[in-house]
Symmetry: C2
Subunit: 365 residues, 2 copies
């Protein structure tokens, strides 16, 4: 939380300090400033987000100064700006929750980080859309530098969501089946790849679309065992699939509505469906018999909450990051296809994310 109050003060005082800085540089020469994408009110108008200069607080004994390298624009970031997310930052705030930075300077009591390390923020609300930051040592965690920059910038939301959902809800052994919708999303693609690495079979539901064959090829090249459209599941079911693989013990739902129904209605007896998104903005409709006679369990997953619960448990956080990095190094998990956007062209990245079209945009600082 410290970074937020420092940020808040810095944004308020920044302009004056910077002005002073320009006038009498001898007084301020040990301070640093950065450029940051700041919003001062909640709004659906992306013009509310503006690049502004921001003075960084001095590096304390237990804090570090980072140079941010790359930060994605995720849909949740836009929801925070719009004020519709369950976590909101005090205003004014710097946008962005995920990203990778390089440690430039460390305080005298910092033990876990060294200059040159790559780090990612643990909690949401960090404000990653900025060129520099000063934060407490405990607010970030290292990621290895032998994975790609884009991989590091996008490691801690989507691949980790996929990783946790595949590990925390059912005991899955090689040969078990997982069914999911939103299979072409960043999480969906990570699920396909991590599941394949674990020896699990995946049934991947996609919306029907013009370039369907192309998408099926793409997901199969990632390791998808079955890719089926919602229409196919509704019209012919998955009987043929279940002649080859067991019914899924785990279902992952990022859509809700009818599509969520296709996931849970195809679960094995005693299976669990985990909901981590509601893209269709329609509720799930669950008949009583699914619970009573098929013993289906419905749960939710939100990585932000998981990380808050485990933020002190560095061993657990590191185990997850190391496992995901191992998959990246081994070529079993590729970074999502991203559009790399120069930081100053941020408006384009925000606009594209709000309009939900195309690839994930990653700001390169």
């Amino acid at each position: 939380m410290l970074i937020r109050s420092l940020l808040h003060r810095a944004i308020h005082e920044g302009t004056i300090l910077l002005r002073n800085h320009q006038k009498c540089s001898t007084v301020w020469r040990k301070t640093h400033h950065c450029s940051a994408l700041i919003y001062r009110e909640h709004s659906h108008d992306i013009q509310t987000v503006r690049m502004e200069p921001l003075l960084l607080p001095p590096v304390g004994d237990r804090s570090v100064r980072l140079h941010m390298l790359a930060a994605p624009v995720n849909p949740a970031d836009m929801n925070m700006i719009q004020g519709s997310y369950p976590i909101l930052c005090p205003l004014p705030a710097v946008g962005g929750n995920e990203g990778v930075g390089e440690v430039i300077e460390v305080g005298s009591d910092v033990t876990s980080l060294r200059p040159g390390d790559w780090v990612v923020p643990i909690d949401a609300g960090f404000g990653t859309w900025r060129t520099g930051a000063v934060c407490e040592e405990e607010e970030v965690i290292t990621v290895p530098k032998d994975i790609s920059l884009l991989g590091a910038a996008t490691i801690f939301v989507n691949p980790c969501t996929a990783y946790r959902m595949l590990h925390d809800f059912q005991t899955l052994t090689p040969g078990c089946t997982v069914i999911q919708n939103a299979s072409n999303s960043a999480v969906g693609q990570a699920v396909i790849q991590i599941a394949a690495a674990l020896g699990l079979k995946t049934i991947n539901i996609i919306r029907d679309r013009p370039n369907c064959a192309e998408l099926i090829d793409e997901l199969q090249s990632l390791g998808a065992d079955y890719v089926v459209t919602e229409e196919e599941v509704m019209s012919t079911g998955l009987h043929r699939v279940f002649e080859e693989v067991p019914k899924p013990k785990l279902g992952l739902n990022c859509v809700g509505g009818l599509s969520g129904g296709l996931v849970f209605s195809n679960l094995d007896y005693g299976g669990t469906m985990v909901t981590y998104g509601g893209m269709a903005k329609r509720p799930l409709q669950i008949p009583a018999k699914s619970f009573i006679f098929h013993n289906v369990t419905l749960k939710g997953f939100w990585l932000t909450q998981w990380k808050r619960k485990h933020k002190e448990d560095k061993a657990q956080l590191n185990a997850m990051l190391n496992a995901v990095c191992d998959l990246m190094r081994g070529g079993q998990l590729s970074a999502p296809h991203c559009v790399q956007t120069p930081f100053h062209q941020y408006t384009h990245a925000l606009q594209a994310t709000v309009q939900s079209h195309g690839r994930k945009h990653v700001l390169i600082m």
Copy 2:
């Protein structure tokens, strides 16, 4: 399963054997027969259920002969006759799944039962609507004789469902809150009483009805802390209730549709809703945010399945029955208000159950 095949054979051969029995009683004098309510096809017409004489098989080394004393008519019994229940018996079949019998005769290798004991069948499909039965020792379990006959006849479905749901899904300590709908059902009333005995607070949702004040009094006299109509919850919410008691960690849903929504939407963060019925015949509608941001878990419960899973675990079965009997003896759990129906007037009891009006009917043999 043995009893079912014996039954099946007995029903097929019964008439001939009984006829023989009448003609040459010296040959058959060690056999016994009973009257049973038998259906030979699945139908919504209750006339398909008829009282017929039934020859009982001889008592084997590990089997026992019972005189059935009392057996309720539950809605699930009618669904089995109609063919719409997930468990169906081979036809022809004797109706009824719950009831209490007295042991009359035991086989030479029977160790756990003695003549005079009261027993209840463990599994569904026993066919309890009959005056006598021969079954394996392991198919029944004793209940103490110092509880009421009606209490014993109705102990193993509704009170045990309430007991398990209050024990198996959340760790509840005195002062915790439970919310339920269908609060006036037999399970609902058992939930109120068992929860009160455990020191839990209950919020009990009922449908609005003409005799509302009377019903509220009745449920409060059982120990209900709050009784609210669906309309009240929808219009004014439960804010005032939550000024006095914590939000519920456990919700019990026997209705589905809107009413189920009133249960889960008032759960505490991380709460669990258990669905054990779908009286409204409408699906639950669950928005994604309930799962993701409120961390609600939805599960189902079906006592029949629980008993099948634990049928070998007599210690666990006895622990549950003893706990429920203790509550009955202590006056903390009363038998549901029943209409006692003489066995030969079974048509009235079946009709009333199908039409879902009034109290539970219990056949007295």
